[in-house]
Subunit: 350 residues, 2 copies
């Protein structure tokens, strides 16, 4: 069934407000979730809403968190998110990064003591209207095994880089550092379909095409093998070793029914954000001119299949947003049921 | 045959000096190449030496280049490399990034009008003794096809991130953004062996296990599919659209027998370098303590094969360096012959 974004946005805000979140923060958190739904990243939108509420019920998310800067230089800051949602603190931290970039060319903010921040793309794209390059990344609950290991040690640790352009749509690469995201496995499970080799391994570390492997102690595999392990690990270190958050196997699980490990080395989960003024490197107009030419040239590169155009990173999501802003956001039965239950529990109307 | 690093280093310096490079720059350029040979990245060491000389002979490399800063903010700079070798300008640019990081927390330098800079790892690792995180990347001659395209549009565009540690060895991820580097194809060609699916495609964009595909108009494939396309593209944009260098299909070829295209949109090839003080985010001692714990925990993660330990990115190269510093550097017949010919041409002794 299709829902207008206005309807889902208002409902999401109401849910967060019911949980004790200040209005301003609820508006922000809803905007991050709706951005995922509009862009077609359905796994990170309102489908997660009840998960955030359960985290609060488990005493693991502070809905009226007050983040604070605990360390600072002209181009950097470290923020303690006060156990709040990354949905709220990450956009605010990105504003600080943008402010620092306005002052000294670039701004970089590491965040500890946080929770899930939604899609990485939302935060990086906040830099675009300022003619800045945006960067965002986060660590996440361990699901990915390092090369030669059968243990889940890393999250799908996404990284996003967004570049402003002139006439063309912006370039936004927003990618997990695993071969497949968990959402893709879930779809294969529902359809009872085999998955490609390279997505998962069994609990003993053997190759598998079984989408249910993760439920039996298996692990996701890093993007393209050992390189993806290195990349996902770098995201983990920037997000958590640098900020003072938990890293590797100690990252607290997003799902409330799993408890965090004991004797944690840090606080909550971690994010790392950055903003770079393009005119800290060359005049803005020159950058945009060449960015447009870059995009045009890549879109015109020779096709394998004449009917399948070559796309720019972020283009499918950009197009989806244009469609869903008009036609509405489709929710599948499970998500609809989940939101109805949430509405009933909180005395709200979807 | 095994060569001591001293012997190869002196020879390499002599070659660059014969080409008109100032002594100080020749020492630096030789150090970058020897670092690759010591670390076991044989494709990027003295094996490339004659290639740099041929670039000069073709009028495409300035051996007595004087780079200059053409744009600057407290945390950023853009450098025109004066058609010099990246081997020389990149370490100097990294020093500027480190200086800026000392002042304002982080430093970022984009470089245009350059040539091949050797291994990305050398430049990023320069940050480590300063207790800084080092980042380096470069674009390169087009060999990789974007997703859905059969055209070579991107280089293998490597990216390196190096993190300092305390007692443990440093974490250095230094990776091409293609599934396979060209060097691996060359080895398969020499052994007449099939390569894994996913490394290359034919000139029509079909899957192939033929290592010679690249010679018949085929292309390398991006790391893990469309994500690697996005990542390699981001490296291209940071290195070149931001700096004013050439990008995409316009990046001049490293090999001197191929001519650059006409009507280029920029100058030479481009690099992007960064340095971040760890104590711009949290106290240095805390960072190192947790970095050590991160490394220990990952090394202890459960093995698939009890005889195959789990490695930290950069560990194989670190170990190789320890061995080769003592035992010497092995050169294969082709490289030896190439260097002998170079020695004869320049009136030097290998």
């Amino acid at each position: 069934m299709l829902y207008t974004q206005v309807r889902l946005r208002e409902f999401t805000q109401q849910v967060f407000i019911s949980c004790g979140m200040p209005l301003e923060d609820a508006i922000l958190a809803a905007d991050v979730l709706l951005s995922a739904d509009l862009r077609g990243i359905d796994s990170h939108g309102v489908a997660r809403l009840s998960g955030y509420v359960r985290l609060q019920e488990a005493g693991r998310a502070n809905m009226h968190a007050k983040h604070r800067v605990i360390h600072e230089t002209p181009s950097t800051a470290t923020i303690d998110a006060d156990e709040g949602l990354g949905l709220v603190v990450a956009p605010k931290a990105m504003e600080l990064a943008i402010e620092k970039a306005s002052q000294v060319g670039t701004g970089w903010v590491a965040i500890q003591n946080s929770n899930h921040f939604g899609i990485a793309g939302y935060h990086a794209m906040k830099a675009l209207p300022h003619d800045m390059i945006g960067i965002s990344m986060t660590n996440a609950s361990p699901l990915v095994a390092p090369t030669f290991s059968k243990e889940r040690m890393l999250g799908t640790n996404p990284i996003c880089i967004a570049f402003p352009s002139g006439e063309q749509i912006p370039f936004v690469v927003d990618m997990a550092t695993s071969n497949a995201a968990n959402g893709k496995l879930e779809i294969a499970q529902q359809l009872n379909k085999e998955i490609p080799l390279g997505w998962v391994q069994t609990k003993d570390g053997a190759d598998s095409t079984n989408a249910n492997e993760l439920k039996s102690g298996g692990a996701l595999l890093p993007l393209g093998g050992h390189k993806g392990y290195g990349l996902g690990a770098a995201v983990d270190i920037l997000s958590a070793v640098l900020s003072g958050a938990n890293y590797g196997p100690w990252v607290p699980p997003f799902v409330a029914f799993l408890n965090p490990l004991e004797n944690l080395p840090g606080n909550g989960i971690g994010h790392f954000l950055g903003a770079m003024r393009v005119d800290a490197f060359r005049p803005k107009s020159e950058f945009k001119l060449h960015m447009d030419l870059w995009i045009q040239r890549f879109k015109e590169s020779q096709r394998i299949d004449p009917n399948q155009e070559v796309l720019i990173p972020g283009e499918p999501e950009y197009r989806m947003q244009k469609i869903r802003e008009i036609e509405g956001i489709p929710l599948n039965e499970n998500v609809e049921k989940d939101l109805q239950e949430l509405a009933a529990k909180l005395g709200l109307k979807l």
